[in-house]
Amino acid sequence: MRFLSLFNHDSSRIQLRKSSGGIKPLSNKASSLRSRIMSTPIPKILVLPLLQHKGTPAKPIAKSGDRVLKGQKIAEAADASSAPVHAPTSGRITGIGLHALPDEFGTLAACITLASDGNDQAIKTTFTADFQNMSESDLLERIRDAGIVGMGGAGFPTYLKLQSSNEHPVDFLIINAVECEPYITADEALIREHACDVVTGANILKRVTGAKQCIVAIEDSKIDAIAELKLAALNSAIQIAIIPEKYTAGSEKQLIHSVTGREVPAGKYPASIGVSLHNTGTAFAIYKAICEAEPCISRITTVTGSTLKTPKNFHVLIGTPIAFLFDLCGVDQTKLSRIVVGGSLMGTCLPDINAPIIKTTNCLIAGSAEEFTEPQPEQACIRCSFCADVCPVNLLPQQLYASSRCQDYQQADNFGLFDCIECGACAYVCPSHIPLVQYYRASKSEIEKQRTNRHNADKWQARFQFHQYRYKREKKQKLLQSSSIEHQPETEHNKQADFSREKARLEISEAVARVKARRSKLITTSSVATEREDKP
C-alpha cells in the first residue's frame, strides 16, 4: 500500500512503504500533552554517571571538592567510542563513586556526584549562532565536545555516527519524530514548542553529513506537532513524511525501510546504505550545542502515569534524581505499584527510585496496579503465530521461544535471535502470556557468554601451544649448548656458571627469610589478621 505524503516543496513526494508487523496499543499520550513543557527547579544533588552511552565510560577530569560551573566539562571521552560529561549546573563535586543506574538491575556504576549551589552560573564561552560559516569538521568537533549521544534511548555517541556516515555518501538524513511507543510524548512536546530549533538542528546535521535529502518522519496522530513542523520547515529543503500510527513504525530499521525502501543489512549500521537517522532530541541538542553553545546537560523527559496528579513533560537537567521529579508531579504513593523507565512496551522496571536521569531517559511512568496488572501465569504455546504476524523483523518468535526454552542456542541463532530488536510486540499479543522478551534476553546473554568463553578458550589454547613450543625450543637450545659445552674443557666461565646457580639459591633463601620476617612483623603489628595457610 502506498501512502503519499501531504507536504513537500519540490514536486517529488515521499513514497512510504508499509512496514511489516506492528501492533496498535492504546497510546496513553493525551494526559502528558495537556500542558506545556515545564522546567524543573535545580535539585540539590545531581548524580552524573560516567557511562550514559554505548561505548567506554568517560574519564573524570574534575576531582572531588572542585568547584565547577554550568556547562563545564567534568569528564572527557576516554577513547573514540566515548562521550564527555558536563556539569548541568554550577556547584561543587562531592565525590566520584558507585551509584545505582536507572536500569532494571540497579547496576552500580561510577558516577560523579555534584552538589548544586543554586546560582546556575554558566561557564563563559564564545557563542557563534552562525553555523553556516563553520566548516563541517568544526561542527563535528563541537558536537563531539558537547557530549551528544542518541537521545532516543540507544545512546550511541552522535559524533561516532556522523563520522561513520562521512565515510559513506549519505543519501538520506532522517529525523525520527515518530515516537510510536505508548506513554512517551517527549519528542512531540519538543516539536510543538521548539519546531524551529529542531529544524535548525536538522539543517546542521544535513550540513555535517552532506545528505542529499533531509526527511523528518512523524506519526499521523501528532496533529499539532505536524502543523508546527510544517510552519518551521516552510523555507527549508526539509521534507516531512507522515507515518501511519503503529507501534514499531518508529523503530530505526523499520523507519528506514518505510521512508527510503532500503533495508539495513544484518550486523551493519544504516550508514553502510547511505542513511543517517537521528532522534528529534538529538537534533535539538545539536542546535543547542552549536547555536547556543550549551553542551548536553538537559533533555525533555515525559513523566506520566495514572498515579500522578499532573503528568507532563519536563525540561530536566541530566543527573536529576527520579524521586525529585516524582515529588514535583505529586505522586500518590498509596496507589504507586510500578515505576517504569521508558515506554510501556520497551521500558524497564526501576528498583531504586534514587537513580538519576541520564541522557537517554525519555520517559518515566509511575503506574498503578490497575494500569500495570500482574502478568498472568505462563501457559503452553498454542502455535497461533500471532507473534510472527506482529514481528517487525519477520522473525519466527515461536521458534525462538522453543529454542530458548530447550537451551538449544545454536538453533536460536539460526532463527535470527540477534536480529530481534526486543520491541515486545510478540509478548504483547501472546494469548498464552509467555514472557517472550525475557526468553530472548536470557538466550542472548547466554550465547554471548558462550562466545566469550569460546574466544577465551581459543586464546588460551593458542598461548598454551606457543608456551609448549617455546619450552621445546629452549630445551633444544640447552641441549645444543650443553653438548657443545661437554666437548670443551672446564673453563673459568663454567665454574662461574655453577657458582652463580649456587649463589642464586642462596639469594632466594635469604630473600624468603626476609619476606617471612617482614610478614611476621606485619601480623604482630597490624590489628587485622591476614588469612593465609602456612606453606612449608
Binding site: E104, K253, Q254, V340, S344, G347, C349, I365, V393, R441
Partner: protein, 360 residues
C-alpha cells in the same frame, strides 16, 4: 520501590487462549443454528453431551497430571474440541459413540502428547477418524425428522417432538414400551448429506431462487447448503477478528475450486460435480475455516500455510472423488498435519536485513 522486577513489555494485549476459543465457538453458532432449523435438535444435543463429557475427561486428566484446573480448564480448548466433534458426528448418534470419540480426542490425541499446544494432530479429527474406522455404520447414518427425499414432513424440526426424538436416539435407554415414543424412531435414515448422487444435482439454493420458494423451507432441500453458508459466515467473522489467518481457508477453497473446475464432468459419473456443490454441498466450509485452522497442528508460517492449505485441498478433493469415504475433511486434515512440521522447516520468512531465507 519495585519488589519484583518484570521484564518488558510492561503491558500486554489482554488476549487469552480462552477468549480465542470462545470466539471460535461463537462463530460456529450460525452454522449450528441452520443445522438445527433444517435437521432438528440432533446437532445441538450432540454438542451439549460431548461438551459435558469433554469437560469431565479434561478435568480428570488434568487432576491426574497435577495441573491446576482453574487455569487449564479456563482455556476452553476441551469445549472447542467437543463442539467440532459434535458438529462432525451425525445427529442421532448414541451417547457411547460421542463418548468414545471425545475420549480418544482429548485423552489420547491431546494429553498423551503433552496437553494443549503439544499435539501434532488435530484432536477432533483424530476422534472422528477413530469413530469412522471402528463404527462405520453409525457414522454414516443420519437420523432426520424430515424426509428430504419424499418431501414429507413427519414433524417440525424445532418442535418438542423432534427434541425427544433426538434425545432418544442419543440415549437409547430412554425408549420405553410407550407406543407414542417408539413411533418417533421411524425417522428417515440416510447417509451423510455428501453422498455420491448429491453431487450430480444442481444447487438447491439456485433452484429455490429460480422457483421463488423460500430458502428456509424444509421442502426446498437447501438445508445443507444453508448450513455451509452459516459456517462461511462464521469463518468470515473469525477472519475479521483476526483470530484465524486468511491463508489456510483461502488456499483450501481455491485448490478445491481449481481441481473441481479441472475435473468437472457432468453426466453419469456424478462424482465430478460442480464446484459450487464441492464447496457448499459438503463439509468444505467448516473444514476450511474451523478444522484446518486449528493453530496447534497447522503450519505456522505464511507461505507454509498456503502450501498446507493446498495439500489439504488436494487431499479433500482426491479422497472425496476417487476414494471411498463419504467425506474426507478429517482424513485430509490429518494428512496435512503429517506434513506441517516439514512445511514449517522449509517455508521460513525472509528476515529483515538478510538477503536469503535463514539457514536451515
Amino acid at each position: 520501590m519495585n519488589k519484583v522486577i518484570y521484564c518488558s513489555p510492561q503491558l500486554n494485549g489482554q488476549q487469552s487462549i480462552g477468549k480465542i476459543m470462545l470466539w471460535v465457538m461463537t462463530a460456529c453458532i450460525p452454522g449450528v443454528a441452520a443445522s438445527t432449523w433444517f435437521f432438528g435438535w440432533g446437532t445441538v444435543l450432540n454438542i451439549l453431551v460431548t461438551m459435558i463429557f469433554a469437560v469431565a475427561l479434561e478435568a480428570l486428566i488434568l487432576w491426574l497430571r497435577n495441573k491446576s484446573l482453574r487455569i487449564h480448564l479456563a482455556d476452553n480448548s476441551a469445549l472447542l474440541t467437543a463442539v467440532i466433534i459434535g458438529i462432525a458426528i451425525p445427529p442421532g448418534s448414541p451417547w457411547w459413540l460421542l463418548f468414545s470419540g471425545i475420549c480418544f480426542a482429548i485423552v489420547v490425541a491431546k494429553h498423551a502428547y503433552g496437553g494443549i499446544g503439544q499435539n501434532p494432530f488435530n484432536p477432533a479429527m483424530c476422534g472422528y477418524v477413530l469413530l469412522l474406522l471402528t463404527f462405520p455404520l453409525n457414522m454414516t447414518t443420519w437420523h432426520l425428522p424430515v424426509d428430504t427425499l419424499f418431501d414429507e414432513l413427519q414433524f417440525s424440526t424445532l418442535s418438542w417432538t423432534s427434541f425427544m426424538f433426538s434425545l432418544q436416539l442419543c440415549f437409547p435407554a430412554l425408549t420405553s414400551d410407550d407406543v407414542q415414543l417408539t413411533e418417533y424412531l421411524d425417522g428417515f435414515a440416510m447417509a451423510t448429506p455428501l453422498i455420491e448422487y448429491e453431487l450430480a444435482k444442481s444447487s438447491a439454493v439456485l433452484v429455490a431462487l429460480k422457483n421463488n420458494t423460500s430458502l428456509f423451507a424444509s421442502t426446498s432441500n437447501t438445508g445443507w447448503e444453508i448450513v455451509n453458508f452459516g459456517f462461511l459466515l462464521g469463518g468470515l467473522f473469525l477472519l475479521t477478528k483476526k483470530i484465524i489467518s486468511w491463508q489456510i481457508p483461502l488456499s483450501i477453497i481455491m485448490t478445491i475450486t481449481v481441481l473441481s473446475l479441472l475435473f468437472y464432468a457432468p453426466g453419469s459419473t456424478a462424482v465430478y460435480g460442480e464446484t459450487y456443490l464441492h464447496l457448499f454441498g459438503s463439509a468444505t466450509m467448516i473444514g476450511a475455516f474451523f478444522i484446518a485452522t486449528d493453530p496447534v497442528s497447522a503450519a505456522t508460517t505464511p507461505m507454509g500455510r498456503i502450501i498446507y492449505g493446498i495439500i489439504i485441498g488436494v487431499a479433500i478433493y482426491s479422497i472425496r472423488v476417487w476414494g471411498s469415504y463419504p467425506d474426507s475433511i478429517a482424513i485430509a486434515v490429518l494428512l496435512g498435519n503429517f506434513f506441517a512440521p516439514l512445511i514449517d522447516h522449509f517455508c521460513r520468512p525472509r528476515i529483515y536485513g538478510h538477503s536469503t531465507r535463514s539457514g536451515l
